[in-house]
Assembly symmetry: C4
Homo-oligomer: 201 residues x 4
């Protein structure tokens, strides 16, 4: 296997595991909780913040995986430092189940809700910065890009990726004002990054 293919496969493995591990943070309602809620169905509805966290994180990681896939298609070769920056990026990706679980636990609690959303958004700021670091290391002076890469396309991607940390930063700031507004930024960003990189492709 080529170095690039093996890096792609390893990254896909970490993405697939992190995304699938999200479910183990959703706990089966205890018999006490079920009795308290007045039945199993109300008890299952009662843990809605767990479903919200699951959906937001799954969609965010899923779209990040799709874009990572596009990013890799520009990479022609790798070096040890690129592999290491990639490991740090994956370290941030694999961290996401933790703030997701914090979000699910504290979203229903008015006094801690904002801190939980802020912690979640802060993690995504770091993930977006790590994603940019991966791209910039590869793209700087065309270091690791495939020979025939279109310079204009590379510049477009570079600018586009910078939107990530900025917008997640906005969502972090909004967390202290309005939890709904902050989480809406996450949904909007997911929709934005789902758009193709360029109309012409």
């Amino acid at each position: 296997m080529s170095e690039t293919a093996r890096l792609e496969a390893f990254s896909d493995g970490v993405f697939a595991i992190a995304i699938t591990l999200l479910i183990i943070e959703i706990k089966v309602p205890s018999h006490e909780a079920t009795e308290h809620a007045g039945g199993l169905i109300p008890a299952l509805i009662h843990v809605w913040p767990s479903y919200v966290g699951y959906v937001i994180s799954f969609v965010t990681l899923g779209i990040m995986w799709i874009n990572h896939h596009a990013l890799c298609s520009y990479i022609g070769r790798v070096d040890r430092y690129f592999l290491f920056i990639h490991v740090l990026f994956l370290m941030c990706i694999a961290f996401l189940p933790f703030p997701t679980a914090v979000l699910a636990e504290y979203l229903p609690h008015p006094e801690e809700r904002r801190a939980a959303v802020a912690w979640y958004s802060a993690t995504l700021v770091v993930i977006a910065l790590a994603y940019n670091a991966v791209w910039w290391y590869a793209a700087f002076g065309g270091r690791l890009l495939k020979p025939g890469c279109d310079a204009a396309a590379v510049r477009t991607i570079s600018r586009r990726y910078l939107i990530g940390p900025v917008a997640y930063g906005v969502s972090l700031a909004l967390a202290f004002v309005s939890v709904v507004a902050s989480l809406s930024v996450h949904a909007l960003l997911a929709a934005f990054f789902l758009l193709p990189e360029r109309k012409g492709r």
Copy 2:
């Protein structure tokens, strides 16, 4: 790696992880439970609903993996929206360990048993709908299908896949009447989807 191959590999990863994670929902009987049951062997038999849930979910996901494999053999290319619909489909697949754990926990409790089976069947209705969405997006007007695909075969598959949400819907309705009848529909559906798509192949 081609886009199609990487999507297949990622999907297989999520399937493999979700299917293997099913086991961590089966808990070792506590020493109190063992004493209460009169020994370890009776205590291990006592958790039979966990084994029922494990087997049904493993077989269901396994057969879905086999069919997903067949589906992928018709796909010639992918686009971003197909990747995204696929992520949503995988989100439903990766959710299954949760209703399986709910089923295992509440199957022995007469008053909550029906709600647990209904919740489990409802999840499978959603999985089957997501599966159909993946197929319809690809097959509509032959959008992403391989050039030489047999139109009659595509129509047969389309009709066949529609049986999924309908039959799981029946199992959902049956859950409120009879838990055994509802779970039998799951077993029958697994057997049905195991049959080859067409006699002639």
Copy 3:
């Protein structure tokens, strides 16, 4: 990807996940346990049955993976029933972390130790039977074997694989007599299955 390659990759995924999940059954000693044992090092030594279970199961699954690998090298094509038998085989493989955790929990308890080892051995009887079912379905009349397969080699493998369920059955019977004797059979079998299939290869 060919059907055979995708089945191999999926099986390897389930093997890799089941084998790596074994570690999450080893629990960090609580502060009470540490105080009770007179320090963290004694407390870590105190959970030795967890390490025994981890090593036996990891080595058993690892050698099974090596042999599964050799088995696959004889398979020329797959059909839907073979895929399904394979799913059932993987269902047994993925179950092993559960009896391993039971073993670790009950090995230090004289009155339940035999039941725990019996449960563990019984799981391996079922795994070995499923492994034989995979092989026999493929090898019967050469159904799915590669065209040029040496008939003598196939017969040797068939006989060799039958040793699995028989020997694990012996280990199951021995569990009720002596826990050490029963677990020794597991170690001997691992060593036996590590030997190359034929001297001449």
Copy 4:
């Protein structure tokens, strides 16, 4: 798939799962812990030893994966004993989440902190020895190396790999003197093994 490729893929799977499982050892602060700490943000800061353990183990496993990748590029063929030694090596790799969780739990406790770091370092001594065993079995007399391997490069690698068990041994001894000094050796080793094997490559 060739035997070498399948071993690489299986190893990468175990690495990817072990590295991603590290996160499930970080527990969401309970509502009592949050109240005690005076809010969710202080409570999340309070579990800093979990983050320290996560980062050290992720980076260590990540760099080990990068180097394992380089090691595999020298391997031309495999035999059953090499596969088995590899399984034992992966058994050590997959064990790391456990001492990481021990470290996170006991780092804040002055009386047990040293034992936790010693246990962690001892695991890495064993991992480094297993890594050397993999290499030495393959490299001894050029047994499994690719035909054209440069003998000088092989000797350089052999010497370089020996630094691992020695340095982790030093970190183990230092654990009883100073926790900070011991963990610094881990950081230094990570940096050392990140350097390319030879300037000339």
